[in-house]
């Protein structure tokens, strides 16, 4: 203390030493955990230094007295907050505007001091330094206030009106071409339907009433040439906030290596999440972020786009890299729908991306996403082709039991019934491969009656896929030794295809002509079945000698026996066969019945003399009833059924 008192400076040159010491003392005074003694000493020292300063002031500085007075006044206003742990903007609007006013005043003083010719005037220099120090103190404080404000008002919750990712994340399409049943294909089919739900959702990332406060800080900091500090602080908080939003969307942080090694099941989930995140990040967060940047920084030149880019870049790179990883992966057929989702999402967003990053600095982002879009387009094509290849090359070693609808038919038909939802995209992407395929499937559809929907690229590709399916089914049918079963199998599958086409969005793409033709096809197989199975049986009952009225007993007996054996054989075989469609089954039974029962009845009717129980194993009614057991898919032998009928 004593030393301090003796060291009263004699000339102006030392003034800033005192001022600096004064600042240090003040700064020390703000330390929280000081002992009372120490605090008292600091307060004393503070008072003492003030005294020294004023002493010198009265001696020196002729024309600067007024400036100095103003500086001192404003200094008090600014320094007082240094010891306060409450944030200025939290204290109230009055405090905030007072503080801003004070900072303005410092800036004005600095400007006027700089404006004076600097003729090595110590006093002027000293005042300028003092004001600059004060300005630095205030700027530093404003930066803190800004960060505090941004962090405090960071909107934590997700916008509530957005559909949550779990509600749209649909069931994973995790089966391969061969092992898919109807149900899972149906579940998997619900397309990501959020493109309609989320249009543009610009939200307030920072509550609206805070914006003017942030702007006022920006204004003052930019005016004092502290724009860089403002930007760094702003970018820092906003970038972190965006990354937090991104994390909430549950995007796994995956390396490309991870993605390439991933099981289809989890990959499908990740692809869905990506589709979802892209929409949310660009449509909601980046749109809103851009608006925030423009609002806060719009009047300071190009900094707004610079800040926006810095805030967005890492998150964008993350999304970009997952997209790239998917685009470079092997394009298996099961990926097709997810790839289409990804492609459509990005194709939708590209315009927004171009608008968000329209400045030079953002050309990198624009370019990368356009590249990715191309990559995804290629992936869709590759997966589509892979799908076609899988359909035609799916092989079996054993015949499909019962001759029912093959899982491949179900898989393919259910899968392609999703395609109409992606019609415009598929048309666009399949355009260049269109001519080859169109020539392959140039059915009457492409004639004068062809409508636009049956001749579009997707329609041609769809028909090419079903025609691959048909040839594959033909191959599969050859695995049956029984020719009749071959026909049942083809009839079932063709019928299934026609039903699927008729009962779905596929219909306009296949056209009535296709349906008519394929109806004819399965009916042909139906007829062939009847011919192969029943012609020989019915032939047994045929009158060898149309002239005579009735057969001899032994001949009748023989014919009867022959018929029963043949019928029982058919019964034994064909009860295990399967026609899943009830209507088709019914139709076939009726026409069989007409043919067989009619022939049997006529046969018996022509020989009334021989009709007795011993000779006739099956009555007409028996035959009629027994025919109902066919194609139920549960093998029976006639003994059982006979016993059943008797009881």
């Amino acid at each position: 203390m004593d030393e301090c008192q003796s060291a009263i400076p004699a000339h102006d040159g030392d003034l800033h030493v005192v001022a600096a010491a004064h600042h240090i003392v003040k700064a020390l005074g703000t330390t929280k955990n000081l002992s009372n003694d120490l605090r008292k000493i600091l307060i004393d020292l503070d008072a003492h230094l003030s005294l020294i300063t004023s002493n010198i002031d009265s001696k020196g500085g002729k024309g600067f007295v007024e400036v100095e007075e103003r500086l001192k006044r404003v200094e008090r206003k600014i320094v007082i907050w240094e010891s306060d742990r409450i944030m200025i903007w939290d204290s109230g609007p009055k405090e905030a505007s007072d503080y801003l006013e004070a900072v303005d005043e410092v800036q004005t003083l600095i400007d006027s001091l700089r404006g004076l010719s600097m003729n090595e005037n110590q006093k002027q220099k000293q005042l300028l330094h003092r004001a600059a120090s004060l300005l630095q103190m205030a700027m530093s404080r404003l930066e803190e206030e800004l960060i505090h404000m941004l962090v405090k008002h960071k909107q934590q919750s997700e916008p509530t009106y957005m559909p949550s990712p779990s509600s749209q994340r649909n069931v994973v399409y995790n089966e391969s071409v061969v092992s898919l049943d109807n149900e899972s294909a149906k579940e998997a089919s619900s397309k990501n339907s959020c493109s309609d739900e989320c249009g543009e959702y610009i939200v307030d990332l920072v509550p609206e009433h805070v914006i003017p406060d942030i702007k006022s800080i920006a204004k003052v900091m930019f005016a004092s040439d502290y724009g860089q500090e403002f930007c760094e602080a702003f970018i820092g908080v906003r970038k972190e906030a965006l990354e937090q939003h991104f994390d909430i969307l549950e995007n796994g942080k995956l390396s490309i290596e991870d993605v390439l090694k991933m099981e289809w099941c989890s990959l499908s989930t990740e692809m869905n999440k990506w589709t979802w995140s892209m929409k949310i990040i660009f449509r909601v967060y980046l749109m809103s972020e851009k608006r925030l940047c423009d609002e806060v920084l719009g009047e300071f030149g190009s900094v707004n786009s610079f800040c926006f880019l810095e805030i967005a870049k890492t998150t964008i790179l993350c999304l970009l890299n997952f997209g790239e990883a998917i685009a470079m992966g092997p394009q298996e057929p099961e990926k097709l729908l997810r790839l289409l989702d990804m492609y459509e999402t990005l194709a939708d967003l590209v315009i927004d991306i171009d608008a968000l990053f329209s400045e030079d600095g953002g050309s990198f982002v624009r370019l990368e996403f356009h590249k990715l879009l191309e990559g995804l387009a290629d992936s869709v094509k590759a997966a589509f082709n892979a799908f076609g290849v899988a359909v035609s090359s799916n092989g079996s070693l054993y015949p499909f039991p019962g001759g029912g609808v093959h899982p491949l038919s179900k898989y393919v038909m259910n899968y392609i019934s999703m395609f109409p939802e992606y019609c415009s995209t598929l048309n666009l992407l399949l355009e260049d491969q269109h001519s080859d395929v169109a020539s392959l499937v140039s059915e009457p559809q492409c004639g004068p009656t062809a409508s636009l929907s049956t001749s579009c690229p997707m329609a041609c590709h769809l028909r090419s896929i079903t025609s691959s399916l048909e040839s594959n089914l033909h191959k599969k049918s050859k695995l049956y030794k029984d020719e009749a079963l071959q026909h049942i199998f083809l009839m079932n599958n063709l019928h299934y295809m026609v039903q699927k086409v008729k009962g779905s969005e596929l219909r306009p793409f296949f056209g009535d002509e296709w349906i008519r033709k394929h109806n004819a096809k399965f009916q042909q197989h139906e007829m062939n079945y009847e011919r192969v199975t029943w012609s020989s049986v019915v032939l047994l009952l045929k009158d060898d000698n149309p002239g005579s009225s009735s057969l001899s007993k032994s001949a009748f007996k023989e014919k009867c026996k022959g018929f029963s054996v043949a019928f029982e054989e058919v019964y034994k075989n064909q009860t295990s066969w399967c026609i899943p469609d009830p209507q088709l089954r019914e139709d076939l039974r009726i026409s069989t019945s007409l043919k067989v029962v009619h022939a049997y009845r006529t046969f018996l009717g022509r020989n009334p003399a021989h009709v007795d129980d011993k000779c006739i194993k099956h009555t007409v009614e028996d035959v009629e009833k027994l025919l109902l057991d066919l194609f139920e898919g549960s093998p029976r032998s006639l003994r059982n059924s006979r016993r059943m009928m008797k009881t």
């Binding site: 800033h16 030493v17 600096a20 010491a21 600042h23 703000t30 330390t31 929280k32 955990n33 742990r85 944030m87 220099k125 300028l128 330094h129 003092r130 004001a131 600059a132 120090s133 300005l135 630095q136 103190m137 700027m139 530093s140 803190e144 960060i147 505090h148 962090v151 040439d225 860089q228 500090e229 930007c231 760094e232 602080a233 970018i235 820092g236 908080v237 970038k239 972190e240 990354e243 796994g252 942080k253 995956l254 390396s255 490309i256 290596e257 991870d258 390439l260 810095e310 870049k313 890492t314 790179l317 993350c318 890299n321 790239e324 470079m328 092997p330 600095g361 990198f364 990368e368 590249k371």
Partner: protein
């Protein structure tokens, strides 16, 4: 199944012999010429990189412009490599031994390289941040005369800069540096209730346990120089290109902040010195490895020349601002020195401003090139697999 194993290797041997027979005909000479030319170009390019003068700041080892040259050379080598591999007379060669093993290994390495590219791209974002902080330091110290206010402003930015560079490197050396940065915090203890100053660091783009060093280590798996007869065939460019790829990725990771680089200097790739083209790469590897070892102990955000300059100048200017605040004033000589250092820092910032974005774009280009070659190789393998009956 020993029987099939035997058959496979038997057929394998036959096809090797067939390769050799094919290689004996007239085209062989052309191929040999191509291979020779390739390794000649590789050795020339890397010799140029090795001879980069340290004293010329613009082209110094691991400077931005040096890295850009490195990537340029990578792209050139890669194009030549692909030409040799794919435009060869016999495309089916790539599906025959030893390439049937080497190509998939190469593709595996490529994928790992892609992840490194991404990590480095991300790391460059941090470097951009350093640049912005350094620019604040420059703005503060450019003003004349320098007073307490400017000095404080510079010091604040310097503190952020130095700690940001150290935070990014946390994994590399224990977190000793971060503590330092907090103790410099302007408000000291009293700032506890308020928001702390903001330090941005590399945000993890991939899983936390992803490690750049391990990734590069994994790239060296199975990387052995071709032996015997293989040495004269296509196995040798595959090997050469692999070494180049590993080296380039390794150098990028050494230069630019990256997630987890522990053990980077311990990575060896067996490039035998007797191979002409390998000498410069070995030389560069040793040189950079030495640098890394020196820095590893202290902890560094990366060996990027501009960053090292920044770090060095940052420390000097930090001392300057410290002494300024301690003494309250400085001598003219000190002020001049500080101004000179600030000007140097400004120059470094300018080089970063000019070079960082193009560097980032170039890394992206490398990324896309690797993807493209991988796709083409996979397609070629696929094509060959379809057209020729598989060996069992």
């Amino acid at each position: 199944m020993p029987a099939t194993d035997y058959q496979a290797s038997f057929l394998g041997r036959i096809s090797i012999r067939r390769n050799q027979v094919i290689a004996m005909d007239g085209n062989h000479e052309q191929e040999l010429q191509d291979l020779e030319l390739f390794s000649k170009h590789v050795s020339e390019r890397f010799a140029e990189l090795l001879s980069s003068p340290d004293d010329v700041p613009f082209d110094a080892l691991l400077s931005i412009s040096w890295l850009r040259k490195l990537l340029d050379f990578f792209l050139c080598c890669e194009a030549e490599f692909k030409g040799i591999l794919m435009m060869g007379n016999d495309p089916s060669q790539i599906s025959k031994p030893p390439l049937d093993r080497l190509i998939p290994e190469f593709l595996d390495r490529s994928v790992k390289a892609l992840d490194v590219c991404n990590a480095v791209t991300n790391g460059l974002e941090s470097v951009r941040h350093y640049q912005k902080l350094a620019e604040i330091v420059v703005s503060a110290l450019e003003q004349k005369p320098i007073g307490d206010g400017q000095s404080r402003r510079a010091k604040k930015a310097l503190t952020s800069l130095m700690s940001a560079m150290n935070v990014d490197d946390k994994e590399c050396s224990a977190a000793k540096a971060t503590e330092r940065s907090w103790s410099f915090s302007r408000r000291g203890v009293s700032s506890k209730d308020r928001v702390p100053e903001h330090f941005r660091s590399v945000s993890n783009q991939v899983a936390k346990n992803w490690s750049a060093a391990k990734q590069i280590q994994a790239m060296t798996n199975n990387l052995v120089p071709p032996r015997g007869a293989e040495g004269s065939g296509l196995a040798s460019p595959v090997y050469t290109m692999s070494v180049i790829m590993v080296f380039v990725m390794w150098a990028l990771v050494a230069a630019i902040p990256c997630q987890e680089r522990n053990g980077l200097s311990a990575i060896h790739f067996p490039a035998p010195k007797q191979l002409n083209w390998a000498q410069s790469i070995i030389g560069l590897h040793e040189k950079i490895g030495e640098e890394w070892k020196k820095k590893e102990k202290k902890g560094t955000a990366g060996l990027l020349d501009e960053m090292q300059k920044m770090e060095k100048l940052g420390n000097i200017l930090m001392d300057f601002t410290d002494s300024f605040q301690f003494h309250g004033d400085i001598t003219d000589q000190k002020a001049e020195e500080a101004a000179a250092h600030a000007a140097e820092l400004a120059e470094t910032c300018r080089r970063m401003e000019e070079g960082l974005l193009p560097l980032q774009m170039q890394i992206r280009e490398v990324f896309h090139r690797i993807v493209k070659t991988r796709t083409e190789l996979l397609n070629a393998l696929d094509q060959v697999g379809k057209s020729s009956p598989p060996l069992l």
